[in-house]
Amino acid sequence: MANPDFAGREYPATAPYSVGREKLREFSSAVGAAHPAHHDLVAARGLGYPDLVAPPTFAVVVAQRAEAQYVQDPDAGIDFSRVVHADERFTHHRPIVAGDELVTVLHVDSVTERAGIAMVTTRCEIFAAAADDGAPEPVATVSSSLVIRGEDS
């Protein structure tokens, strides 16, 4: 079962994720996000953005990579065949745009267990890597809860 010792853990910042135009177009098409600002540079710039804009849930792609550090760690005790996604929450401090170099700090906010059902909540703080020596810029916070059914449930 989910190892309670992981609660409160904070991981080092990930290597940068480079947000590419074609990845944004691909993801947008996959979720049916048809707004021109996801696909057309002129439309995105017309709205004041430097490049194509990510759809509201694109940050999950970045967050899932960071979450893998935790959920794929054998010591965490998370059996993915028994996992159900319980909830997801995005807070955008500013829109993600193509060209961003994003680093993520993963937090395991809680690991609880009741009646054979475990719930883990993670939080990814996503930052834009600073171009110079400045502080990283907060871009998005992605919180996710997973329910892990017990062996008998």
Partner: protein
């Protein structure tokens, strides 16, 4: 530089207004496409044998695909996808996707709350499949002028 003509104004909205509705059709190919685009290759979303083996009725849609698909009506209504400053949901019921045909998901977006000081509106999404809600407490916060 936003195009004012296409963007709703906070002052014109009232709690309860239905601002957008839409339909999303999901088939197996769409699930595979989302798996590739998102990097979520959990076999419950594309392998029927695996899905039923872990107690699911059929292959089910990624919750994140449903969540990501239905918010499009809000982004389009806002006129600017970047105006969606927060978005959350609970995944209350899986959406089974048959081998043949499609699973139809319906979305209705209504004004849940208006925060004039913050310049934001909370849009509540009602998302159903075959008459049953599949997302719970699904809320998008949209910044408007």
């Amino acid at each position: 530089m936003a195009d004012e003509r296409t963007q709703p104004l906070l002052a014109d909205l009232a709690v309860g207004d239905v601002v957008a509705t839409g339909t999303v059709e999901l088939d197996r190919a769409r699930l595979v496409r989302y798996a590739g685009a998102s990097g979520d290759f959990n076999p419950i979303h594309w392998d029927e044998h695996f899905a039923t083996g872990v107690g699911l009725p059929d292959v089910i849609a990624h919750g994140m695909l449903t969540m990501g698909s239905v918010v499009g009506v809000v982004a389009d209504w806002a006129g600017d996808p970047g105006a969606v400053v927060a978005y959350q949901t609970r995944f209350t019921k899986p959406v089974p996707v048959p081998r043949d045909g499609t699973a139809v998901v319906e979305v209705s977006a209504a004004v849940g709350a208006i925060d004039a000081d913050a310049g934001t509106v909370r849009v509540d999404l009602t998302v159903t499949h075959e008459g049953a809600k599949v997302l719970g407490r699904s809320q998008a916060t949209v910044r408007l002028s």
